[in-house]
């Protein structure tokens, strides 16, 4: 087991900059508030969530049939469907297509799946220039960083920092911090790429089984820009992105943008039904661990995720620890439930990076019981022997102490005496608590002492 920095260690570093952590918290909370307003404007919001949950549960239970239906219909429309068992196969397929078409420059719209597969470095190592065209994605790409949020990849950066970055990488004048001006410069830079790229890659928000169509949702129109000109469109889709019917979009599209950014609908909802005339459409359908998760009845609900990011925005821990404190490319509550399914050892700290407040479960548009999923992963991590032995021993001792009334009462009395008599030592032993908090009071009498003294007549 490789030693990976725990969430707690990385978060402690992020928290050190008080002004920055509050700025980050507020920036992300602002999006949560927009989501609240947007969701309240839909009277049947809770019914929509239930509907979405039911459609996803049904689809996941019949996934192989719907995937085959999708393949048949997409093929009928003229698309070519490829199946990738894992990230490696996905990358090979994409590279094979690009090589076949002689592509030297690929423009990409937002896709967490290609982040998961580490497609960019794979292609770059093979001499292909890859340009992420979502503004936030482009910013973090220029900064040689992964996205810190699944919907707002550069939410951790201040505009001054983006100005510096653009100065260094795009040659903008020093000190440019006006968001509008910066966006304009990025736009000009990206236009050039759109004009010259010979292939465009998009993610997929929804693959429709009954039509074989694909739906891609963006706010910048970059998926359309990237697929309108080049002769090759590659769409990378996780197997869980299937919806049975076109009518189901009426449920999911109403939920997605409102949950993600508080918009009633995203600026662009692009439907691709077969290739554009004179071009080719290849859909790469990727498993990469998803069917293994599907087989885990207790954990499969996480596959219903539509990647809106609402659970990140509401998570008080994400907002105060930032996307980079998570050891997986998808941060926040949903990332912390998906990551241990891939490698419980490497991501053992993530299910514990939560106060189990449950806000994630209540904002989730497809009603994934995220905080219960995290709890389930905690049990799994303990069962696999991945909890630090000291913690397990402490719990075993506490469990023993609580199993007998006499020992519980005796240890309680001893504990309170210790707290009262030697608070300095107690504080030193409990630094995790006392570094920033006082110890609790240690009354002479417990509740049961008082109760016996005042209520129980002998």
């Amino acid at each position: 087991m490789a030693s990976v920095e725990t969430h707690a260690e990385a978060a402690a570093r992020f928290v050190r900059d008080d002004a920055r952590v509050h700025w980050h918290d507020q920036a992300v909370w602002f999006v949560r508030q927009k989501r609240d307003v947007a969701s309240r404007a839909v009277p049947d919001w809770e019914a929509l969530r239930e509907r979405a949950e039911a459609i996803k549960a049904h689809t996941l239970s019949n996934l192989s049939a719907y995937l085959e239906e999708f393949e048949r219909n997409a093929t009928r429309l003229g698309a070519v469907v490829h199946w990738a068992r894992d990230a490696e196969e996905h990358n090979q397929i994409v590279h094979g297509l690009l090589a076949e078409h002689g592509v030297r420059l690929l423009v990409k719209s937002k896709s967490m799946l290609t982040e998961e597969c580490h497609l960019n470095p794979y292609l770059e190592a093979r001499g292909i220039e890859v340009v992420d065209t979502d503004l936030g994605e482009r910013i973090v790409q220029l900064d040689h960083k992964p996205p810190s949020h699944i919907v707002m990849p550069a939410i951790h950066m201040k505009r001054e920092e983006i100005g510096e970055l653009f100065h260094a990488t795009l040659g903008t004048e020093r000190g440019l911090t006006d968001p509008k001006a910066l966006t304009e410069r990025a736009r000009r830079h990206l236009r050039e790429k759109f004009m010259t790229a010979r292939a465009g890659l998009t993610g997929v928000n929804f693959g429709i089984a009954e039509t074989g169509g694909l739906v891609v949702v963006t706010n910048e129109g970059n998926a359309d820009m990237g697929t309108s000109l080049p002769p090759l469109h590659v769409a990378s889709m996780g197997i869980e992105k299937i919806v049975p019917r076109a009518a189901d979009l009426g449920v999911f599209l109403r939920l997605l943008a409102r949950s993600a950014t508080g918009q009633p609908v995203s600026t662009y909802t692009s439907h691709f039904h077969g290739p554009r005339r004179g071009s080719a459409l290849h859909v790469v359908v990727v498993d990469n661990g998803r069917s293994a998760l599907l087989a885990r009845t207790g954990f499969r609900r996480a596959l219903a995720c539509i990647r809106c990011g609402a659970c990140l925005n509401t998570c008080p821990v994400y907002r105060r620890s930032g996307g980079y404190s998570y050891s997986w490319i998808i941060p926040g509550p949903i990332g912390s439930t998906l990551a241990p399914a891939r490698d419980a050892g490497a991501h053992a700290s993530l299910p514990f990076a939560s106060s189990l407040c449950g806000s994630c479960s209540d904002v989730c548009p497809v009603r994934i019981d995220l905080h219960h999923q995290l709890l389930g992963w905690r049990r799994e991590i303990v069962a696999r022997g991945l909890l630090p032995p000291g913690k397990r021993a402490a719990m075993a001792f506490a469990s023993w102490a609580f199993r007998g009334r006499r020992r519980y009462e005796l240890l309680g009395r001893l504990g309170r005496w210790f707290l009262r008599t030697l608070p300095g030592l107690a504080g030193a032993l409990g630094r995790g608590w006392t570094r920033e908090r006082e110890l609790p009071p240690a009354p002479r009498e417990s509740f049961r002492d008082v109760y016996r003294r005042t209520r129980v007549q002998s």
Binding site: D362, A383, S399
Partner: protein, 247 residues
């Protein structure tokens, strides 16, 4: 007359006896016969929330045997009640006994509103009170509607408190954000936990609260620890103490 077994969570028993006594007083004042089964210890939540199911299971079994025979089990804690009601099925095999205990275990405020149908609590509490909606009471027991969901607004705790004479109830700007206690999270992730707590305190202070109240002594213990370290004047009191008329 309704007979209730008072479930006093271990941290309340050991550290906050006044909260247990206040709950007892409130129940008796509403005509309830209260018993305190002395064999009770801990519901097993610290172990269960750490993923230590094997360590939690014997405590869940113990809880069933201690409380199995009572008409109702009532606790001044949302979190421990949620453990019994929502998480025991993860630890114990399904049984009629389990179902029956789960159904009859209630948090103090929900027992008052849902079982006794108390509409107004007699008493006086002339203070500016900030309401801390502890997460498990809010999102696992649904003591109030919550800021995330689009459902008609309700709040059982606020409803009871608003009957107290002289009380001014104040809402923080983020009405139900977590205080950061989270059980072992408070120590495992202490820097984030304490920051969350400080942010909650600042929110309540900005609203002008003198006292923060809530249904869980554990959240209040965390906030109180931060308050005393920072030498702040704001105080915490458990809801049971307010309902019992104890400042």
């Amino acid at each position: 007359m309704v007979t209730v077994a008072l479930f006093v969570p271990c941290h309340v028993d050991q550290l906050y006896p006044q909260v247990g006594m206040a709950a007892l007083k409130v129940l008796e004042r509403h005509g309830v016969k209260v018993e305190f089964p002395e064999d009770q210890t801990c519901c097993g939540q610290p172990m269960a929330n750490s993923g230590c199911a094997e360590e939690a299971r014997p405590l869940a079994e113990r809880f069933l045997s201690v409380f199995g025979g009572y008409e109702y089990v009532v606790a001044p804690s949302g979190s421990c009640v949620s453990m019994v009601r929502n998480h025991y099925p993860d630890l114990l095999p399904a049984s009629d006994e389990l179902e029956s205990v789960r159904r009859r275990t209630l948090e103090l405020c929900e027992f008052l509103t849902d079982v006794l149908h108390v509409e107004r609590v007699e008493g006086r509490f002339p203070h500016r009170v900030g309401l801390h909606r502890s997460c498990h009471g809010l999102r696992e027991l649904r003591l109030s509607s919550g800021s995330e969901r689009n459902v008609p607004a309700f709040d059982k705790v606020k409803g009871l408190l608003s009957g107290l004479e002289g009380i001014t109830l104040l809402e923080p700007s983020r009405p139900d954000e977590c205080c950061g206690f989270g059980g072992t999270f408070a120590v495992n992730e202490a820097p984030v936990s304490t920051l969350m707590g400080k942010d909650r305190l600042a929110d309540h202070e900005r609203m002008g609260a003198e006292i923060i109240t809530g249904v869980d002594a554990s959240c209040l213990m965390h906030l109180d620890g931060l308050i005393r370290r920072a030498g702040k004047s704001i105080r915490v009191r458990h809801v049971a103490e307010l309902l019992a008329g104890e400042a």
